[in-house]
């Protein structure tokens, strides 16, 4: 595509810059993939696209810092269960029949949902990731993609052993015009043996790659780690070199003060996924010590098998509500902080560190919310309206790298009708196949 000049006229802009600047009526000019300027329209400007931003609010798009997008195919498949039974009785059973096509259509469905909801980038951790990369390429989204590795021997991996994951990195690093970043992904310290954690960390250092891992999701995981290794899960990862490269630790719910200091010293990003913690009754942590230490805390939806959607707007509200509830402190995660976790902090976690703020020279990864909805009146506090009352359905326009992916109800890059039908068909086929496999295994 040639560079495109876009003018968004008479729009309110929540920049999410350090000062929290809110411009009530201004103009946004996008030039190619970047924000050219915010303010007056220069005389003689000849934009190729003009959008009337009256009664709309421009904000940085959401960065979903931890998810398993293809798992839309397990939405509604594992309800009202605790984490261990959710995994063992439902999720891993269904995934026993997983195919590469399932991953493609599941991720494509997630992409439709994410774009409609104002998400511009996602940090995905799953299998058959070439197929997710295809979806990223086609959809126009940004993503950091991780082919999950168990490290239990090639026969235990789903579709790629460690050399295969590195080959995936070779194929896709910097792909889709720089919108794809590839990452290595040991599943977790409770699945991966320490020798494997050391091996994959060494490879990440050698190839200058980041890591994305699950950490400390339950008290039992911490107790087991202490019993087996004499170390907390976080300390074990540090000892294995996992934190010697940029790393996203998903969840990190059960941390000691020493763990928090360790993560902070290594610039680890923590991806917080409140819907999953509540739905699976996993408990939650107090984010205040992490934030006070200067840790980069970002927000994610996790997979739709647990939460059950890819809705970052809902994650923003839920994160704020859950922290206020959990800490008993209504002043926690105040003001625009929940939005910052979901935008700039996520962008930083995923290695798109220039994004997440609306300012000249920054990537044009942004979203327009229609403010002319009954639930967004009155206008005492636009930030509070956005955090606590706005809905994904208020999103009218989504730009990624200056390209319009969604406008007024229409997805501009994806064939949504086909994706819905194929995703539904593949999801039903997958679970019916998995039930057959289980029956044959038992017989």
């Amino acid at each position: 595509m040639p560079p495109m000049l876009t003018l968004i006229k008479n729009v309110a802009v929540l920049t999410l810059d350090p000062a929290g600047t809110l411009l009530p009526d201004t103009n946004l000019i996008l030039d190619g993939s970047l924000i050219e300027s915010i303010g007056d329209v220069p005389p003689g400007l000849q934009p190729e696209v003009v959008i009337n931003g009256y009664n709309h609010l421009a904000v940085p798009g959401f960065f979903n810092a931890h998810c398993h997008a293809p798992m839309t195919f397990e939405r509604g498949w594992a309800e009202d269960l605790p984490l261990d039974r959710w995994f063992n009785e439902r999720i891993w059973v269904a995934e026993s029949a997983l195919t590469s096509d399932d991953v493609y259509w599941g991720a494509a469905l997630a992409a439709c949902e994410m774009i409609r909801g104002g998400t511009v980038a996602f940090n995905d951790h799953y299998f058959y990731m070439d197929r997710v990369a295809e979806v990223v390429e086609q959809s126009g989204l940004k993503a950091a993609l991780t082919w999950c590795q168990f490290g239990l021997g090639p026969e235990k991996e789903v579709g790629a052993d460690l050399p295969g994951a590195l080959a995936f990195v070779d194929r896709w690093q910097g792909g889709a015009g720089g919108r794809i970043r590839t990452v290595l992904g040991p599943h977790s310290p409770y699945v991966c043996p320490p020798a494997f954690l050391r091996e994959i960390s060494a490879l990440a250092r050698e190839h200058r790659l980041s890591l994305h891992i699950h950490l400390a999701e339950s008290p039992a995981q911490v107790a087991n780690s202490l019993a087996a290794h004499g170390l907390t899960p976080a300390a074990l990862l540090a000892a294995c070199g996992v934190f010697d490269v940029p790393c996203v630790a998903a969840h990190a719910l059960y941390l000691t003060p020493e763990d928090i200091a360790l993560l902070t010293a290594h610039n680890v990003s923590v991806a917080h996924c409140p819907a999953t913690y509540m739905k699976l009754a996993m408990g939650v942590n107090d984010l205040r010590p992490l934030l006070a230490a200067g840790l980069n805390v970002a927000l994610g939806t996790d997979g739709p098998g647990s939460n059950n959607d890819m809705d970052m707007q809902s994650a923003v509200r839920l994160a704020a509500l859950l922290q206020k509830h959990h800490t008993g402190d209504a002043e926690t995660l105040a003001g625009d902080l929940p939005l910052r976790l979901a935008t700039a902090n996520g962008a930083r976690a995923m290695g798109f560190a220039d994004s997440g703020v609306l300012a000249p020279g920054r990537p044009a990864d942004l979203v327009l919310f229609d403010l002319d909805r009954p639930h967004l009146y009155p206008r005492h506090n636009l930030v509070a309206n956005l955090v606590y009352a706005a809905k994904t359905s208020d999103v009218t326009h989504v730009f990624v790298d200056g390209r319009l992916l969604y406008a007024n109800g229409e997805l501009l890059t994806l064939d949504e009708a086909k994706i819905k039908a194929e995703a539904d068909r593949h999801a039903k086929h997958m679970v019916s196949q998995s039930l057959r496999i289980v029956r044959e295994y038992k017989a």
Copy 2:
């Protein structure tokens, strides 16, 4: 209006009957205000309205069991504060300038939001309730309306003393074709003196009215009641006769086992409002003992000054997530139970006990959800999709007493553009007036 015959063709119906019947492809016939039949279309039927229900799900509409609808005017006005400071520093200050017109436009704005979100009835507790009754009459919604009373002497009341509240009852009981029920509303046992609680309860018995009151919102309220009266707040209300008539107790977070037995013995309904409890860091109760005792637990949004919306779909999801989180039991509020709290239980609490179930002869208070949305695929479990993934914006049609109030994005009974503008103007005027009053008082 003459009776209207409506046919909704080829629709999925979640009846929420005792068996939890889900009919995947059927027809709904509405005759006047009632559901005539569910099933085959009789030959020769000549409906006046035909709706294509393909890919849509019909469910009972939501009954919002506790709210202060006019308080949309304080949406975003009192952020990130605990309950006591929220009241004292923001809410009661703003309300010092409250006018009857503010109430009208605030409630009208709430009505727009409620109808769009699939709410068919609301249980409102506020001031200048004639103006809310006008909104109910005009909008086509159902409501139980309570003019809040403090019982501290006529000069402390907002707009009506107790005889005034009874006059309101006389004017509106059974109004709007039976869509309005009027209720007496002592604010709470921590504001109202026991003598007043006895007086208003006696009047309710005499006039065969219900009561609607706030109960046990904090440990401090319980401690203060024990210190002042030697009774828990629930026991104090029982001793004053409050529970001798049908009563909705909002919140009821801090109950003893004896309190639960007392509420159960008196058939009290409890209105549970999870967003407020989280946002104001009030704590929450375990609903399992209440449900096990057979108490009628319903769901509410509370007022938009605290939560910050009138979104019952969000309340359904949040109630389920919060109970799973709070109890550590992922099997809590399983299946369709969260929906039942928001429909039939709310209807029962508000005295519209026939509603909340889709069956022949029941009131046609129902909603269509569009299932053809990316976040509602695949179709493993329609109930889970509805509880955890659906959004208010998936609502396409809302019927109350068989009358269509909303269809495909358009409100059919209210002038939404005017309401948004007037509500915004009145809200801004109210808070600016209140700030002036405070300045003059301090000077």
